[in-house]
Every structure is written in structure tokens, then in C-alpha cells.
């Protein structure tokens, strides 16, 4: 299989559920298990929430979500054009959060890493952040 879809949404928290359900619906073409779908939904929710809270700091912005399906893999790109991350290595550490006052737990990146097979973070301060995640579907574990 070889398929692609692109989605552009406003950085509103009410779009979080829309984004994860839409990506999951697209991913279902690969015939994933219920658990694989739940993993994808959670990872997308983490990345989109980060764009809204950290990238745009709850201000207006646009989030791009690009999905590609390969034979047995889904690739998901989630992009914002917001604040950017100064130190990606530190940001990816478990329990690190720059916004503890907002009841964030610093678990977002850890969840994306454990629920997906691969994650890449590209970020430029003042330009934005791009997360690329891959998950293999139907792998024998």
C-alpha cells in the first residue's frame, strides 16, 4: 500500500480529539489492532497538544498533520510554526516540563517514544517544531 493524507487545523484544544480520530481512521487502512490504534491516537494527541500548549502557547496558529501509509508502516508528521524548542535533548527527557504550573507532567515525549517505533524531533527556536513518528503495523512481537 502507498497512500497519503494532509490535514491543517487551527491550534484549538477542541481539535485534539478530531486530529487523533482522523489519523486513526486513516491508519485503519493498514488493518491495525485495537491496541495499535490506541497507541497512534495517544501519540498524536501528545504531539498536537504540545503544538497548542508549547508551540503556540494557546494563541492562534496552524498545525499541519501529514500521514503516509507504506506497506506495514504509518508515518505521521506533526508540525507547528511556533516557539520552537531550545534544547531538544532535555525536552525529550521523562518528567521534564517547562510548564509545571499548568499541571503538565512532562510525559508527552516519553509516551510518544514508547507507543511508536521511531520518533524524530526537529526544531528551530522562533520557527517551529516538526515531529516525525513511525509505527509498524501488524508486526509479530
Amino acid at each position: 500500500m502507498d497512500n497519503e493524507m494532509k490535514l491543517e487545523i487551527k491550534s484549538k484544544s477542541s481539535n485534539e480529539a478530531f486530529a487523533r480520530v482522523t489519523v486513526a481512521a486513516f491508519a485503519s487502512q493498514l488493518d491495525p489492532t485495537f491496541e495499535e490504534l490506541a497507541d497512534i491516537k495517544t501519540a498524536v494527541s501528545e504531539a498536537v497538544t504540545n503544538c497548542i500548549i508549547h508551540g503556540y502557547e494557546n494563541k492562534d496558529g496552524i498545525i499541519h498533520i501529514n500521514c503516509k501509509l507504506f506497506d506495514k508502516t504509518i508515518e505521521i508528521e506533526i508540525i507547528d510554526f511556533g516557539k520552537g524548542i531550545e534544547n531538544v535533548e532535555m525536552a525529550r527527557q521523562a518528567l521534564y516540563t517547562s510548564k509545571p504550573e499548568l499541571d503538565r507532567s512532562g510525559m508527552g515525549f516519553t509516551i510518544m517514544e514508547s507507543f511508536m517505533d521511531e520518533i524524530k524531533v526537529e526544531s528551530i527556536v522562533g520557527m517551529g517544531t516538526k515531529i516525525v513518528m513511525k509505527k509498524n503495523i501488524g508486526e509479530v512481537k
Binding site: S13, S14, E16, A17, R20, A38, K41, T42, S45, E46, T49, I52, I53, L102, D103, R104, S105, M107, G108, I111
Partner: protein
């Protein structure tokens, strides 16, 4: 979200439903805070059996309550 309060044991059960994410959790946090203030329970039981989706926003909400 709804609550069950057991007078005898002073136990408050907070039952969460549906989806817990960044969008829904602020309202849920306020509602559970209000109920804890109202009942002043000795123990609080958070029940997530009816929750169909939860991400790190739910973890943050829970950490704040304890």
C-alpha cells in the same frame, strides 16, 4: 464525570467517563476539586473504568489531585 459518596466510610468515589485530554481535563479537574471540597472525604477513589481515552493531560490532572 459523577461522584458517589459513602457517608459511613467517608469515601468519595470520582468516576471519570469518556475521553480525558488537554481539552476536557481542566473542567474535570475543577469538578473533582469542587467535590473534594464539598464532601471533605477521608479517602478518594479515582475510577477510570469508563474512560475510553487518556493521555498525559490526565496524568497531570491526577498528579495535581494527590
Amino acid at each position: 464525570m459523577f461522584v458517589n459518596y459513602e457517608i459511613k466510610s467517608k469515601e468519595l468515589e470520582i468516576v471519570f467517563e469518556e475521553e480525558i485530554d488537554h481539552h476536557t481535563c481542566s473542567k474535570l479537574a475543577i469538578m473533582s476539586d469542587d467535590n473534594i471540597k464539598k464532601y471533605m472525604p477521608q479517602t478518594v477513589l479515582f475510577n477510570f473504568e469508563k474512560v475510553s481515552f487518556m493521555d498525559s493531560s490526565g496524568i497531570g490532572m491526577l498528579l495535581r489531585q494527590i
